[in-house]
Symmetry: C2
Amino acid sequence: MVTIKDVAKLAGVSIATVSRVLNGYAHVRPEVREAVNKAIDSLGYRRNGLASSFRTQQSNIVGVLLRQQRTPFSSALAYAIETTMFDQSYRVLLCSTNGDADREEAYLETMLDMRVQGVIIRPSGTNARTVKQVKLLQERGISVAFVDMKPKIPAISSVVCDNFSGGYQGMRHLIELGHRKIGIVAGSVAQRGGSQDVGSERVRGIRQAAQDLATDVEIIFSPPFESASFDVGRETGAAMITGNPGMTAVFGTTDMLAIGVMHAAHSLGLELPRDLSILGYDGVLESAVTFPTLSTIAQPIHEMGQIAAMTLIDHMTSTSKSPRQVVLENTLIARASTIPLAD
Amino acid sequence: MVTIKDVAKLAGVSIATVSRVLNGYAHVRPEVREAVNKAIDSLGYRRNGLASSFRTQQSNIVGVLLRQQRTPFSSALAYAIETTMFDQSYRVLLCSTNGDADREEAYLETMLDMRVQGVIIRPSGTNARTVKQVKLLQERGISVAFVDMKPKIPAISSVVCDNFSGGYQGMRHLIELGHRKIGIVAGSVAQRGGSQDVGSERVRGIRQAAQDLATDVEIIFSPPFESASFDVGRETGAAMITGNPGMTAVFGTTDMLAIGVMHAAHSLGLELPRDLSILGYDGVLESAVTFPTLSTIAQPIHEMGQIAAMTLIDHMTSTSKSPRQVVLENTLIARASTIPLAD
DNA sequence: GCTTGTATTGAAAACGTTTACAAGATAGCG
DNA sequence: CGCTATCTTGTAAACGTTTTCAATACAAGC
C-alpha cells in the first residue's frame, strides 16, 4: 500500500508538505503543489482514511437512528438524508432499532466508538432513556438533530411538520365536503395526548377543526392500538364501519391505516368513494396506487430529510451550536377517495 | 478521554496486558484479568474504535451497495442485511447509488478508504464497470457478494432466486386457471434476454411454461420500457387492455407493474378480478394491500438478505474464499386477483 | 541442582496521518 | 545594507492501539 511517505519521497518533499497539499492548506508554493499532485497521481496514492480519522479523532460519518426501516415513510426519509449527506461528502451509518432498546443502545455505542460527527434521530417517543442517550452524545461533542419529533429538551435541533395544522386541514376538507359523522383512526398515544407526539398533534388539530368549523360534527374515535399498520387499519376500520351506520367519512392518521380502512370497506361490500370517503396522512408513494387513489395530508418527507441533514451539518461545521427548530407545512392532496357527501 | 494507559496505570499492569484482556487473549493470570476489568469498569473505559481500526487496518463495517433504496423490495432487502449483520456485530454502510455511476464510484472509494471488510452488491447489470470495480475490491482483499443477480464472474458468491422457475410457476398458475390469452408486462432488457438479468429469467420461464403446458396459449408482450414502476405499469397496462379485447389475464414481472395494470383496469371500468386476472412478482408488502389483493410470485426477500449477509461473513472470517452460489425458490401466493376463467 | 519448556508480563516499535514548532528563505522597508 | 515580517518547508512528536520480542518466573524432569 502506497503511503504519504512514498509520495513525499517521489516528490522530493517532506510528508508534512504532502499532508498540506492533501488538505488544501495555504503556504505551499504552486510548483511544489504541482509536483506533489503529480506524485500522487503517478503512484495512485489514496489517503488512508483510517489513519486520518484516527489522528483527527473524527470520521466523516453520521449516524441515522430510525426505529423502523421497512415502512415507506422511514425509507423515504432515510433516502433523503443519505443522498443529502452524500452530496456534502458525509457518509451514513444506518441504524434500524426496530423499537428494540438493546439494539438502540448497541448502536449508540457503535456511534461513540466510531466517533461519528453527528447523529440524526427519529425517536420513538421522548422517554427518559432517549434523553439520557442524547445527553451522552452531546457531552462527547457529537451534534444531534431530531426529525419528525419536537424534542422536549430545548437544546436539540429538530425538523418536524406542523401536524396540528395537518390534522386541522384534513378535518376541514372533510367538513367542507359536507361530512358530519366522521371516524378517526388514531393510535393510543395520540388519543391520550402526550403532546410532543406527532400523532397527538394531529388529533389535536382534528378536534380543533371540528370545534371551529361546524357545530354538528360527530367524531368517532377508534379504540386505541399500538402500531399504525395496514392490518390494524383493516380491523379497526371494519369494526367502525359496522358499528356506526351513519358514518360517511374516515380519517386515518397514517396512510397505511387509511388503506387498511379502505380494504375493510371493500370487504364489507361498500362502494368507494360513494359510500365512504377516506382520508389518509403522510403522502407516501403507496397512497397514489390504491383504488380509489387516496386523498391524503402529504408530508414533505424528502424535504424533511434534506433539512435535517443540512441542519446537522451546520451544527457540525459551525462553532455556534445554537439549536434550530424547523417546522414544515403539510399539504392536502385531494385525490379520488374523498368526495362531497351526497344528500 | 480515558485511554488504555489510564487503565494500565490503575490496574498496575502494562498496556500490553490491558490489550490482551480487551481482546480476550490467553496467557493472562485470572487475578490480573480481574484487576484490569475492575479498572476498566471504574474508569468507564471504552476502547477507542478509531485507534483500533487504524492499527489493525480494518473496521467492522460492511458496505451495502444498492442501486435504489426507496422501492419496497430494496428497503426490505437492506433491512434484512442490516439486522443480520448487526447480530454478528458488523455495522452497515448503506449506499444507494440510484443508478448514478459517479455516485457508485464515490461510494466504492469511500469503502476502500474506510477499509470495509466486505461488500454486498445488488448490481444494476453485469457491465464492464461493475466487473472492474469488483476486481479492484477483491485485489484489496475485500470480500464481495452479489444479491439478486448471478454474477458472470465465477469468483463471486451470490444469492438469487430461481426466477426462471418463478416465471414458470406464474404462467402455470394462469394456464391452470384456464387463461389462454395472457399479457406479459416486462421491461426491455428482460424481453431482449440478457440472460443473467432476473427479469430475463422470468420471461424465459414464462415462455417455457407456455410451450410446455398448453398448445393454444397466446402471449402478448408489452412494448419494452426501462423502469419497472407503477406509472409504467398503468400506462402499458391501459394500452394492452384496450388493444387486446380477448385478453383475460396479465402477468407483471414486478408487483408495482402489476398494481399499475390493476389501476389501468379500474380506470377503464373493468371489474376485478372478474374481467381480468392479474398476477404480480416479488411478494412485496404492498401487494397484500391492493384491491383485490394481488396474487404474486413471492420472493423470500428477508431470507435473501440474511443468506447474503451470512455468506459474506463466511468469506470474511474463514480463510477459504471459495465462492458459493445460493439459489432460493420463489413461491406462488394465490390471492384474490387471479380467478378461474369464466366460460 | 541444573536444564528445559511453558506461562506470564512488559518494553517498545509500529501503523499513517496531522500538526506544533522551529528554521530557513524571501521580500519589504527604512 | 540591515532589520523585521511573512512565506515556505522540514523535523519530530503525537494520537491509542496492537503486536513482536525479550525477559522473567515457575514448574517439570532428570
